[in-house]
């Protein structure tokens, strides 16, 4: 059981940090089994692809996260140590990103990958960042399973001042920042704030005080699709305005807008 205190320490204790004694205010209470299930539209069982069915031994016993690399020693999300069978060590300064957000205490065993609720028009949608109103979700039909996938993906990172609902005079929204386009050229790309002391070097480095150091990651799926996984971030991640439950993975489609932090919008775009 670990949590993160306001100083960024990984704590073995859920109430006060086991390093510095600071209170742990936002214990990232992940959704329980019922909340996880609610990802599925009511009454509509969603078929789970074979690749997403996970054997229980391939799931982190601490946070329930799928083990991506069965030989890896630590849980990707909560840094649980599979060899020692205990919560992971505190971060050390090294060239690899090691610090991790707290676990998501989902109790539900079994598959953690849930197919996205299909949104928007089929994949002919133009790469525009317009979020689809959540109210329209229920009326839409699921997308064909074999939707044509682009050859590769890219991420368009923009500052969206409209997202900054609680402006702070000390850190105003940088409205004049240029759009950044990054190709998705790695199997997974960490999204977050760069932190030299904790040796966190995200591939998608954000200058947004509302983003966690290890906030989320983009993952290329085996079939060529792309998914977003929230890493139990403090302030959460939305896809097209809908919250992604902390620690869970969400399949993305062309044109999906990922919003996080105070003003960051990342639009997923296919490249032919």
């Amino acid at each position: 059981m670990s949590a993160i205190c306001r100083e960024g320490h990984i704590s073995d204790e859920p109430d006060y940090c086991s390093v510095c004694g600071a209170p742990i205010t936002a214990t990232p209470g992940g959704p329980g089994p019922s909340a996880a299930r609610s990802l599925t539209p009511s009454g509509t069982p969603i078929p789970i692809p074979r690749s997403a069915v996970v054997h229980s031994s391939a799931v982190c016993p601490s946070c329930g996260e799928t083990r991506e690399d069965p030989d890896g020693r630590f849980c990707e999300v909560c840094r649980f140590d599979f060899v020692e069978n205990r919560p992971g060590p505190p971060p050390v300064a090294r060239g690899v990103a090691v610090a991790a957000p707290p676990p998501n205490p989902r109790a539900a065993p079994g598959p953690t990958v849930v197919l996205p609720v299909a949104m928007g028009a089929p994949s002919t949608a133009t790469p525009v960042a317009a979020p689809v109103a959540p109210t329209s979700v229920a009326t839409l039909t699921p997308a064909p399973a074999a939707a044509a996938l682009p050859a590769s993906w890219e991420l368009v990172i923009t500052v969206d001042a409209a997202l900054d609902t609680e402006p702070d005079a000390d850190s105003p929204c940088p409205v004049d920042r240029a759009e950044i386009v990054l190709p998705v050229d790695r199997p997974d790309m960490l999204v977050g704030r760069h932190d030299e002391t904790r040796a966190i070097h995200p591939e998608v480095s954000l200058h947004d005080p509302g983003a966690s150091r290890r906030h989320a990651k983009f993952v290329l799926d085996p079939d060529g699709g792309i998914s977003l996984q929230d890493l139990a971030s403090t302030n959460g991640t939305q896809v097209n305005g809908q919250d992604v439950p902390p620690g869970t993975k969400r399949r993305l489609r062309q044109g999906d807008g990922v919003t996080l932090g105070r003003w960051t919008r990342i639009t997923v775009r296919g490249r032919a």
Binding site: D15, Y16, C17, S18, G21, A22, P23
Partner: protein, 434 residues
């Protein structure tokens, strides 16, 4: 759950302050069953001064104490003068072995000098053969440790620490309180005075009954502190004052533990903990310490089961620091902290006062003992007030006005000196002050 742990403190600090005081009360589960294996060792002074009735009283008392042992309890008897002699080697109590042991004990003759370390060493070598038992020694002497230099005992005590616990009894008034108290304190026991040889038996009975009720072994009071904080001191303040700060054992850079010995069911001890934290700003809140209790519990099993290590924590035991600009909050003294700070001062005043009286500095001795009477009276410590009244004439307890007594029995002074470290438990605190 083996232990109930609670902390009492005023968590509010003025801006810039960094010292956090708390009383941690630890109570063992009253339903705990006594451990299966108990070894009781008697360490008896047989020096020449024990002649003239004393050694005979010890013969009777030790034999009698052995008859009180439950069948199956292990026991042994070591006698020492300048050397140590094993009188009864480790034996399991049965009707027959008790009779046989009594015969051997009556053969002890009083002769020779006094070298306490030899008796401790002999007992230790026996106890070391029973690493899984509750190990209780009963040490009996009537004299000064004249047969060796003081460091010999201190060095031997270092080796005995954690091996066995020892209650010490002084017979008569010819012995040095400090020497015997050293042994008791190092080995987590108590030191007391038996004024007459006839009192030996009653004294042993208490020790045996206490040892027979022990259920948990190697109980350690543990403290976690945050990075940047330091433990200023840790003291057991009830039932007796025991300085623990220097006995800390480091478990990890942030966790230290203090050995408190074995515990019976329903036992309560209280600890005064003082932590220096990094000073905070108004509004800051942090956890200053997380006390817990680690111990070995006797596991149920067909062959005795052995011992299982456990650690108990409690949310009520957390010690906090919260910085506030409100002086009425930060200046308040916690009831329990104030009480035990007073009991500590009481013990100090008695020890110092008696010392000064011995040296003939009557004015200062009167002042200190008067202060002791005042604190004892204010904290409703009736036992200590009565003991003090044997050494001084109390004119007005409320203001601490006393006169030194002219003819004081030596036993009364020794008794006061020995018992000065026994504290009165804090009275039920008024509602809403923790």
């Amino acid at each position: 759950m083996g232990f109930k742990i609670e902390a009492f403190q005023n968590r509010y600090l003025a801006p810039g302050s960094n010292r956090v005081d708390a009383i941690v009360s630890v109570t063992s589960d009253p339903n705990l069953k006594a451990a299966r294996e108990l070894v009781v060792g008697f360490i008896v002074d047989k020096s020449g001064s024990m002649a003239n009735g004393r050694i005979e009283a010890v013969h009777g008392a030790v034999s009698k104490a052995i008859t009180m042992l439950a069948d199956g309890t292990w026991f042994f008897v070591v006698a020492f003068d300048g050397n140590a002699y094993v009188i009864v080697r480790e034996t399991q109590a049965t009707a027959e072995s008790k009779r046989w042991a009594a015969g051997a004990i009556h053969q002890i003759q009083a002769a020779g000098g006094t070298a306490m370390s030899t008796g401790l060493r002999a007992a230790r070598s026996v106890f070391e053969r029973a690493p899984n038992a509750i190990r209780q020694a009963i040490f009996l002497t009537d004299g000064k440790n004249e047969g060796e230099k003081p460091p010999a005992v201190l060095e031997e005590l270092k080796r005995c620490e954690g091996v066995f616990e020892c209650d010490c009894w002084g017979v008569g008034t010819d012995w040095q309180v400090g020497e015997v108290q050293n042994i008791a304190q190092a080995l987590l026991g108590k030191a007391a005075l038996i004024p007459s040889p006839e009192g030996v038996e009653a004294a042993f009975r208490g020790s045996i009954e206490k040892a027979s009720g022990k259920a948990l072994k190697d109980v350690r009071f543990r403290l976690w502190t945050p990075v940047g904080a330091s433990i200023a001191f840790v003291k057991q303040v009830n039932p007796t004052i025991e300085e623990l700060t220097a006995k800390a054992r480091e478990i990890s850079p942030q966790v230290r533990e203090y050995l408190t010995g074995s515990w019976g069911g329903g036992e309560t001890r209280e600890f005064h903990v003082t932590i220096d934290v990094k000073p905070g700003k108004v509004g800051d809140e942090m956890l200053a310490a997380r006390p817990s209790v680690a111990y070995f519990e006797s596991a149920a099993g067909p062959d005795g089961g052995g011992w299982v290590e456990k650690e108990d924590k409690a949310a009520e035991a957390r010690i906090f620091a919260t910085w506030t600009g409100d002086d009425t909050l930060s200046s308040r003294l916690d009831h329990a902290v104030a009480h035990y700070t007073g009991q500590d001062e009481l013990a100090e005043a008695i020890q110092k006062g008696l010392e000064l009286r011995e040296q003939g500095q009557e004015a200062q001795a009167t002042q200190l003992l008067g202060r002791a009477v005042k604190i004892a009276h204010a904290s409703n410590n009736v036992e200590m007030t009565q003991r003090l009244a044997k050494v001084v004439d109390v004119v007005d307890a409320g203001s601490g006005t006393v006169r030194l007594k002219k003819d004081v029995k030596k036993a009364a002074t020794m008794d006061l000196q020995l018992e000065s470290r026994t504290t009165k438990r804090v009275a039920k605190r008024p509602a809403g002050t923790s």
